[in-house]
Structures are given as structure tokens and as C-alpha cells.
Symmetry: C2
Subunit: 116 residues, 2 copies
């Protein structure tokens, strides 16, 4: 039973709203909010975008720090948040870590938003 | 000139990434992050969803408080954030405030995400 179906609609006075479909569940709202929080930062959006704009949708960490104008530890923190949220995948090759866009991850959150 | 075109690609050693298209500008990343921040909260996602699920995509504030299990001032705060971010429109009619989904607002942010 979702929150929408729990709205008391026995009072039919002018104040009350009729519900026409189910609204998002508390659990799904929690999950979607967590995914959105990971994205809701200008530096993280730019990092995702820079990775997506790179050849093969993959970028070396060595190329991501300078354009942002942030310190290397700050960029590493943002990249970690994006990996943990499932937007980026990280692979160490030799000296450098490479970041790749997780296929479909942005589309998934974008589609979920349309169903809210 | 965007951040992507500012990536130094003169060093062609194995570490470096080739850029294939422009990435999001710092200004647009800032704006999109602000829109996403307003959405990145479970209570606010549920409020939007409850309004969208109501007849005529409009709901009375009197029906929104109870299902969330939050205090009325907390719900009012969340509704204010959503109005300020442009997701909801507020109209006072008689005793009650009514909230309506701003047409296209969720679609807009969802489409923007696909262009990051």
C-alpha cells in the first residue's frame, strides 16, 4: 500500500484531493533521492560530462583534475561518490586510474524521474 | 570555451584522454545541480509524486501532510523549496493552499540529464 492510497479521502469537503494513481513508495523515494544526491553537485556533473565527452566514454584521472580547478583530493572524493552511486566505473591501468561511464546509469535515473 | 576544450591534450602519452565532444559548461552544471538538489530528498520526491497522482495534478496542502508522517512546518518547508525550484505552483483558495505540478518541469530536468 503506498502513501497515496493511504490519504484519507472520506471527507469530501472542498479541501480534499482525489487520488488518480499511486504515488512513489517511501522506499523508492529514498533510493531515487540517494541517486539524485550523488548527481546534485556541479563538480560531479562536470566530471560525468567530461568522462562522457571523452573518446570511448573513458577518461584518465590525470585529465580530469585540472579543468575543474579543484584540488586532486577533492576531485578524488567526487569521483568516489560517483563510483559508489554507480555512475562511473574505475579501473587502474599502470600509473593511472581510468573512469568510464556506467552504460545506462544516467538514462535510468532520467527515466525514473519521469515516473515520479 | 567549455571545460572540455580546456583539457590540455598536447601531451599524447598513454595517460591522456581525447575529447570527442563538448562537456557541460560550469554555469549549466551549477544550474542543473541546483535543480537536482531541490529534488534529491525523499520527502520532496513523495510530495511531487502525490501532487502528480492527484486529480488534475493538483493537491491541497491539507492532504499532503499526514501521509508523509512529518510535521506541518517541515512539509511546508519542503513545499517552499519545490515552489522556489519551479517544480510546483502554489495557489491560495479560501482556507487552503493548493499545489500544482509545473507542466514540463520534471521532463525538463530529466531531458537535461540525458545531455550531460
Amino acid at each position: 500500500m503506498t502513501s497515496a492510497t493511504m490519504i484519507p479521502i472520506t471527507d469530501v469537503s472542498a479541501c480534499c484531493t482525489n487520488v488518480t494513481r499511486e504515488s512513489i513508495s517511501a522506499e523508492n523515494a529514498e533510493l531515487l533521492a540517494r541517486s539524485l544526491k550523488a548527481l546534485a553537485d556541479p563538480a560531479r556533473l562536470r566530471l560525468i560530462s567530461m568522462v562522457a565527452a571523452s573518446e570511448g566514454a573513458e577518461a584518465c584521472v590525470c585529465d580530469l583534475t585540472e579543468p575543474l580547478g579543484l584540488s586532486q583530493p577533492t576531485v578524488s572524493h567526487h569521483l568516489k561518490v560517483l563510483v559508489e552511486a554507480g555512475y562511473l566505473e574505475r579501473e587502474k591501468r599502470g600509473t593511472w586510474a581510468y573512469y568510464r561511464l556506467t552504460p545506462g546509469s544516467l538514462d535510468a535515473v532520467s527515466s525514473l524521474l519521469r515516473t515520479v
